[in-house]
Symmetry: D2
Subunit: 297 residues, 4 copies
């Protein structure tokens, strides 16, 4: 298995104080993950030097993720929001670069919110332009942008993998990829396995997550299909485990995501299980792909 | 199969003008459904006499459904909102009674919206009080209230069947039941089949719906488990098919629900399929329950 | 849905007396099936003229199926068995032609039995030669041969779809196709949906059947995947429902298949359900394939 | 997780020479399993002292398993076969006792073969008598008998868990339990999870195995349901992983089981994966059971 495995920081902490950053990084590394995904909704909250030193101490990689707030909605068609969104994304690129990060993912293309009307051609065209400039800047630091396909309650722009591929094509930059998340796919895709395969080389980032955002394997997602899809698509990129419980309160993320339930309290057990579950499923999917149906006659 | 089968009116129409009401009712009856579920977010939009005559013409039954808007949020702890919510619910009881309806279901206990903070004990206690009075009024017309368990993006009060049962117990009225919907269960339940069984006699209304709200059988829901759960729970109540496509635009419902995709255009084919799919699955579930494992030795 | 739908005669009768033939044919037609699959383990038991008249009366088509017994095992490498097997298959071709049949399917390439050692290259090569001559004869009457892929307990030659395709390729005749059966696939395939798709144009016949051979939808088979596979493979050929219960005793078939349990007694309900279940699943699979993921921006 | 985990010896070796026994035991222990299940179709082939020393060296436990051959078929109603079968089983009890074994499992109640007619009341009654005497003898050494429920091709007596419970009841001895195997359940049960739960306290031994008998997670079995069933049944007994590939040739077992395909060659990878897969699934099932649906209002 060549995929880098990571966890979202909010399995450990709700913020990014020195204590939180140090704890999240050390805990992630202790289990054996390759990297941590740090929320960067407000990149100014990240002490770059401190974080970088903690990462180096643990030998851990980093990616950042965010969703734009309404005032920065680059898909809105509003010039002011577009300008603010572009500035915000450029700031995240700078922060991620300084952290030594490899990917910026999430809802980079619209507000991270419940919309009440559909996206418009003009709005999305505006987002595409902004993303082209942000991607150009990111490319200078070898950073990949992952446009996360999320469910209908979190954006009105890309809810399916096919829509994500279309948006990537419009942006048309080699470092802009589709970011799929099986939590969202469980809601929006007709066939998650097929969607992963069809995304193919556009797939640049993957989130594992259960249907209710708790422990992997405790909800309604058919993970056999998810991992077979990843193997059939020959996906070699990062796989990040994401889970949210009201036990780790991190505003505004928890409120936006509607995390009302205490689905777990023991972060270490949660993340160790996620790694073991992921490895066992990935190995099974690889063996299923390679299974012998040869005849000996 | 003794369950009454219905469809939600928005598979046909986005509003309730005379033309729309007549068409929705006639179309529902033509396929062979037993009843129609009419949205009653604003009951004043329903011409009761006209609707009743159309129902009688077709021999169709009716139920109503709604979610409270923020100004009527009886779980808010705000006295004004509680009073408005109670008045609104009383109005829906009156309308439903006059229509000859049997059930009022939906998000009767809170706002039908994306919350940003968790529900509070005081807020829910207020909702319980209101529901007791509304249920008392509904009972006079043999109307059952179905408290719909919905996903985290549509309420912060009851996201799981177990929570729905708890709310029913707090209300403590014989005509207040849990309304489960497999679209929402797919997001929130660890095990939808088990949740249906555990709800047991508290289950009073059921929505079928696919994971992306399109045709049954075209998404990620394991309907074998859903229908086996209903059979094991010995559920004899109404089963209503719910589906939404941007092809039938009905505000504000479509906007609240985030219906951005055109998942179908042929309502008749959609609803005929839903009936056939439901009957085939229900029959299979009943046969699976009855299967012979006897020994003849 | 363009696929012809059929049922295996043993859902109705254990033999093929005039009474049995007439009843099986009339019952199949009454439900609306397109054809009946008649067992032809011993074709001499079929009164061709009588059967043909009954078929015409009902407007029903016919296919035949069989497995070779040990004395006719053309994969055995034994010259006598090969000769007897070839004669037997030629007799079945003649019978099927005279009945107006379109397909001969089943274990046409080996014994229909529990083997104790693996198939040999020489044995299979012998079977290939025989099948080429039989297929040539069948082609004269536009009859397709379906080589049924069955589980390890019923043959040692082809247990997976990939092996079935390989055997077809060795025979190399346009009217020799793979016959898949999801009952057997449930035991042998890593991924039944994928296997159906990969069989592609080699697929010439399909058996639906539940994991325990009872009612469709009452066992462990994931029919969503089966029907999506058929749609993705663009399969337009016959689909025959097969089910066995000790309630219909037909030797030697029941003994060979190990039908010890009374899984159903009401053949009409069983077959009507199979048709409704099949149509509902097929329609869902077609809609899932066609689902709209387009963007409107 | 309190269940003892084991593997069937034929994942490593086809026989039980000193070299084979030593290798199988050492390899099993090296991965971290608690015990090995040794085939005892012919207990005279087991060098008891040697095996016991190797087990002690590795700190490994042992169980034995077998199916009776036709000449020893205690369900046949034939006095000679019954006597031979009883003697054979008594010999296995003695061998297992001397090995320090805790369980004897498998097809202890009938021939381990493809039958052609159904079991008879007289035959099974005879088997029950024999099993009572064998169980009495086994009880003296604290050995549990596990009556393995297998598919229709391997016995005609117990194909479902419910039938297994019935046979246990007829034997009526505290140390006679049902042995379930999900490979067989995939063929015979309507609902494997339900069957495990319903077996309840009668469940005394469990085999994990994939639908085609290869790597766990590479076939058609829904292991989420299997492990949730074990957790819901509060099963605390042994769980043994069973897998067969033609790469490890062990007659007569391979021939009886129809192992025609080379499904794996790397036994160590196979068994390490089985352990990791089992632990990950079991942990997920336990967490799913314990999931919080409490309300905080």
């Amino acid at each position: 298995m060549k995929n880098k495995l990571g966890v979202h920081a909010q399995v450990w902490v709700g913020g990014w104080s020195h204590e939180e950053a140090a704890r999240a990084i050390a805990s992630t590394a202790a289990i054996g993950y390759d990297y941590i995904e740090a929320p960067a909704l407000d990149p100014s909250l990240i002490d770059i030097d401190f974080t970088r030193r903690e990462l180096e101490k643990s030998g851990l990689g980093i990616t950042t993720s965010l969703g734009l707030d309404d005032s920065c909605d680059i898909s809105s068609g509003d010039a002011g929001k577009k300008a603010r969104g572009e500035a915000h994304l450029m700031q995240v690129v700078k922060t991620t670069r300084d952290l030594g990060g490899t990917h910026i993912t999430g809802i980079l293309y619209s507000g991270f919110q419940k919309y009440f009307t559909a996206a418009t051609p003009e709005g999305v065209a505006g987002a595409v332009e902004v993303l082209q400039r942000v991607a150009e800047e990111a490319a200078k630091s070898n950073i990949t942008l992952g446009l996360e396909v999320v469910n209908r309650y979190e954006t009105n722009v890309i809810n399916t993998a096919a829509q994500g591929v279309e948006l990537c094509k419009r942006v048309g930059m080699a470092n802009v990829k589709v970011h799929l998340d099986c939590y969202h796919m469980n809601i929006e895709e007709a066939d998650a396995e097929r969607a992963i395969i069809d995304t193919g080389d556009y797939l640049g980032y993957f989130h594992t997550g259960e249907s209710h955002r708790g422990y992997l394997g405790t909800g309604s997602i058919d993970f056999t299909k998810i991992f077979r899809g990843l193997v059939k698509a020959n996906y070699q990129g990062p796989i990040c485990f994401e889970s949210f419980s009201s036990a780790v309160a991190g505003e505004p993320l928890t409120g936006i995501l509607g995390i009302w339930r205490n689905l777990w309290t023991d972060s270490t057990d949660l993340c160790r299980h996620a790694m073991e579950f992921t490895q066992a499923q990935m190995h099974a999917a690889q063996q299923a792909q390679a299974i012998n149906t040869r005849v000996d006659w």
